[in-house]
């Protein structure tokens, strides 16, 4: 392996990247844009969801309740209906997502004393379960609190009644570590970096597939450059962009989304280097195995984005997967990267505690690289 050869191939690939606007965009603004979009899409708050109210009580207590329900901004009362039946067509057309029915006699002190409270009714459209849960939570919590205030306020005016029985028997105090507001952005961000950092691997797979399709790969192989310099030289520019992206992502997380970075930055950079390298090996494997750009693209999409999105714990905790799937996932670089990335960003776990993932990533990366080298030699050279 000669440095001169390596450098020549690297420069050649660099020109390829910078001269094709598509590839250049994919390598530079692509990852950052993708990150911003993902963060926006995956962590958007549910707010201003339209609901209707059927106010059969029509008194100050029910009006107070309507105010309370809208207080945290999740739902917005857009319609006031005379009867429950009128809500069905509105729910069907999706104009409202929920209905709150306030029964006649709500807030009437007499009902509290006899303990025959009229029941509030909440009807929710379940077609979008995630936002429905938030809507339900907002209405339910507000009505329960309102009801409790009404009861204690009314009963405390009557002598001889102990209102303490309406208070919570236990106080609960919550403290959240690593991510005090339980914010989705902070939780997802470290995992999403793995998705974004798979772009260089995709770009490499596509570039190699194109050279193969156009026949220029054979010219490269026929050059008096040894195979290792050729492969490393091809990989180097993509690695370079990947490393720049890694550090930029840490900075964006820190300064734009307030995602802390608690761990050892140097250790993280080294780990990211290994991750990018094994992604390169994976990209190489894909392009060596497959004939056309089209195919390389589809497979790259399936291998890079698909698992990193759904299986690496970004959306669903890894623990709810069946044991077999969990075992299989150990063979993907991205699984280990997400584990380490989260630990480094949020928990500041010392490197010594993450040796298993370091080792696993190394083994997986070297394994894939070895496999693709063998195939490269067999199929191309």
């Amino acid at each position: 392996m000669k440095m001169q050869h390596l450098w020549a191939v690297t420069r050649n690939e660099f020109y390829h990247i910078t001269r094709d606007p598509g590839t250049l965009a994919l390598m530079t603004v692509g990852p950052l844009l993708l990150m911003i979009m993902l963060v926006y899409a995956l962590t958007a708050d549910v707010k201003n969801v339209p609901i209707a109210v059927v106010n059969l009580a029509a008194n100050s207590a029910s009006n107070g309740l309507i105010q309370q329900v809208q207080a945290n901004g999740v739902v917005k009362v857009t319609q006031t209906l005379a009867e429950v039946q009128a809500a069905t067509p509105l729910l069907e057309r999706g104009e409202i997502r929920a209905v709150l029915v306030i029964p006649n006699g709500y807030g009437n002190p007499l009902n509290f004393v006899t303990r025959k409270l009229p029941t509030l009714q909440i009807i929710v459209d379940g077609t979008e379960p995630m936002s429905a849960e938030h809507v339900l939570d907002a209405i339910y919590t507000a009505s329960e609190a309102d009801l409790r205030t009404l009861v204690t306020d009314t009963l405390s005016k009557i002598p001889g009644i102990d209102v303490s029985q309406f208070n919570d028997p236990v106080k609960i105090e919550t403290e959240t570590r690593y991510n005090p507001t339980l914010s989705n952005v902070i939780d997802f961000y470290p995992g999403l970096t793995a998705v974004v950092l798979s772009l260089p691997g995709v770009a490499l797979a596509l570039a190699l597939a194109r050279e193969k399709e156009l026949g220029t790969l054979e010219q490269l192989v026929a050059m008096p450059v040894d195979k290792l310099s050729l492969l490393l030289g091809k990989i180097a520019p993509y690695m370079f962009f990947g490393m720049v992206d890694t550090l930029l992502l840490v900075a964006i997380g820190r300064f734009v989304y307030n995602v802390p970075f608690q761990g050892n930055l140097l250790g993280y950079a080294i780990f990211s280097f290994f991750f990018l390298f094994s992604n390169m090996a994976l990209g190489l494997l894909i392009s060596v195995l497959l004939g056309s750009q089209q195919l390389a693209m589809v497979v790259a999409f399936l291998v890079f984005f698909f698992p990193s999105f759904f299986l690496s714990g970004v959306f669903f905790p890894l623990k709810i997967m069946p044991a077999v799937v969990q075992l299989e996932l150990q063979f993907l670089p991205v699984t280990h990267y997400v584990t380490v990335s989260k630990a480094m960003y949020l928990q500041g776990t010392p490197l010594t505690d993450l040796w298993f993932d370091f080792l696993a990533l190394l083994v997986v990366g070297v394994g894939i690289l070895g496999l693709s080298m063998v195939l490269f030699r067999k199929k191309v050279a």
Binding site: D20, P21, G22, T23, L34, Y40, A44, D45, V46, K47, N48, V49, P50, P89, L91, E92, L117, T119, L120, Q121, I122, I123, V124, D125, G126, E128, P129, A132, E133, L136, L147, D168, P169, V170, I172, E173, T174, E175, T176, R177, Y178, N179, L182, I186, D187, R210, S292, Q293, Q294, V298, V299, L302, F310, L311, F315, F316, K319, K342, Q347, T349
Partner: protein, 370 residues
């Protein structure tokens, strides 16, 4: 005329068949994704690892721990001696929830002085932590009620708001994610196939031959559309069958109506693919363009971000994306079981968008002739 369109369509089929791997891979990939998403989203969060510090050692605290143990959401309690131990477990992600029962918990409860139970949450896994917090809070309050007031939770159930969930009674997430994934996969696959249709000719130098053929421009476009549409349509039907029969997503509306509307939607999306493919110079560019466009489509589809939560301006903008209308139609037919009278507006929107796209495509193709 029909013969000429069919000739081109046949040529496209031959291309795709020659590629032997591309289409099977597409279909397999889509079905795989659907299966994984269905599986992952139908799982409730269970066995969230929990650590408990019992500083009281009374029979009330033992009863509380026993209650926490019975929860499906939480794992069996790992009993630790101090808060420091809980922190260590959290650092290694072996605990997502820590429950600290204070000294005198039992005696304070009996004396009607509310004791303070601390919950420690591991925010690095916010989804599990949130579920664990909700489960633990409810159990602690109910158990407190039992020990302090000797009331069973069901004693006051009729005073609480009564909740009815419509269309998706169990709030099952897979009933939402599956129709949406179906819409998205179907979209991505057909747009990519269509987008590659013309760039491939351009890259291989056969584009000029296509132009000099004695065919009208719209005949070429239509011919190019048929192959990706057929494949997309078969994929759609397979995914639909899979969702309904294997994953038990309810199907309450008219199947014929859905299958008919799918064709209209397909025409609009495939037209978009061809348009992108006319704009792009190389296959790589076409693919990148599709990715970019698909991402924007996805943002406005209402799948990840609820459209109601967007600023009003973006809500208006979202109407020009046919996928948004399509996902609404899918859910309306499958989950709500309503008909055209409810969502006619969305159908018209798709037709309008499709007409504009096909018109634009023919225009661009014709311009490339000169």
């Amino acid at each position: 005329m029909f013969k000429r369109i069919l000739n081109i369509a046949w040529k496209e089929f031959l291309h795709l068949r020659k590629d032997r791997v591309l289409v099977p891979f597409f279909i397999l990939g889509a079905l795989l994704e659907l299966t994984v998403v269905a599986w992952a989203t139908s799982q409730p969060i269970r066995n969230v690892p929990m650590a408990v510090v019992d500083q009281d050692h009374s029979h009330q605290s033992a009863a509380l721990i026993a209650r926490l143990d019975t929860s499906d959401t939480l794992s069996k309690a790992q009993i630790t001696n101090s808060v420091a131990d809980v922190n260590t477990l959290m650092d290694h992600n072996q605990a997502i929830l820590g429950v600290v029962i204070p000294p005198n918990y039992g005696s304070m409860l009996v004396a009607h002085h509310p004791p303070t139970v601390s919950l420690l949450l591991n925010g690095a896994d916010s989804t599990s932590a949130y579920a664990a917090q909700n489960a633990a809070q409810q159990i602690i309050l109910e158990q407190g009620m039992r020990d302090a007031l000797h009331q069973e939770p069901k004693d006051y159930a009729n005073e609480l708001p009564q909740v009815t969930v419509k269309y998706n009674e169990t709030l099952d997430r897979s009933a939402y994610t599956l129709p949406s994934e179906m819409g998205l996969m179907f979209y991505v696959m057909t747009v990519v196939l269509a987008a590659l249709a013309i760039t491939r000719e351009r890259e291989r130098g056969t584009y000029e031959q296509l132009l000099v053929m004695p065919y009208r421009s719209w005949e070429v476009i239509l011919g190019k559309i048929i192959a990706p549409m057929t494949i997309g349509y078969c994929l759609f039907m397979t995914m639909l069958a899979l969702s309904v029969f294997i994953f038990h997503v309810p199907f309450r509306g008219s199947l014929l109506l859905l299958l008919g509307l799918a064709i209209i939607y397909l025409i609009a999306e495939v037209g978009k693919g061809i348009l992108l493919s006319l704009v792009a110079r190389t296959q790589l560019q076409a693919v990148l363009l599709v990715f970019g466009v698909a991402m924007v489509d996805m943002l406005f589809s209402g799948y990840a971000v609820a459209v109601e939560s967007m600023p009003p301006f973006l809500q208006t903008v979202s109407n020009i994306f046919s996928i948004r209308h399509w996902l609404i139609i899918l859910r309306d037919i499958m989950l709500k079981g309503v008909g055209l009278d409810v969502f006619a507006g969305h159908v018209l929107a798709i037709i309008a968008i499709g007409t504009v796209i096909i018109g634009l495509t023919t225009l661009v193709y014709r311009r490339s002739l000169t």
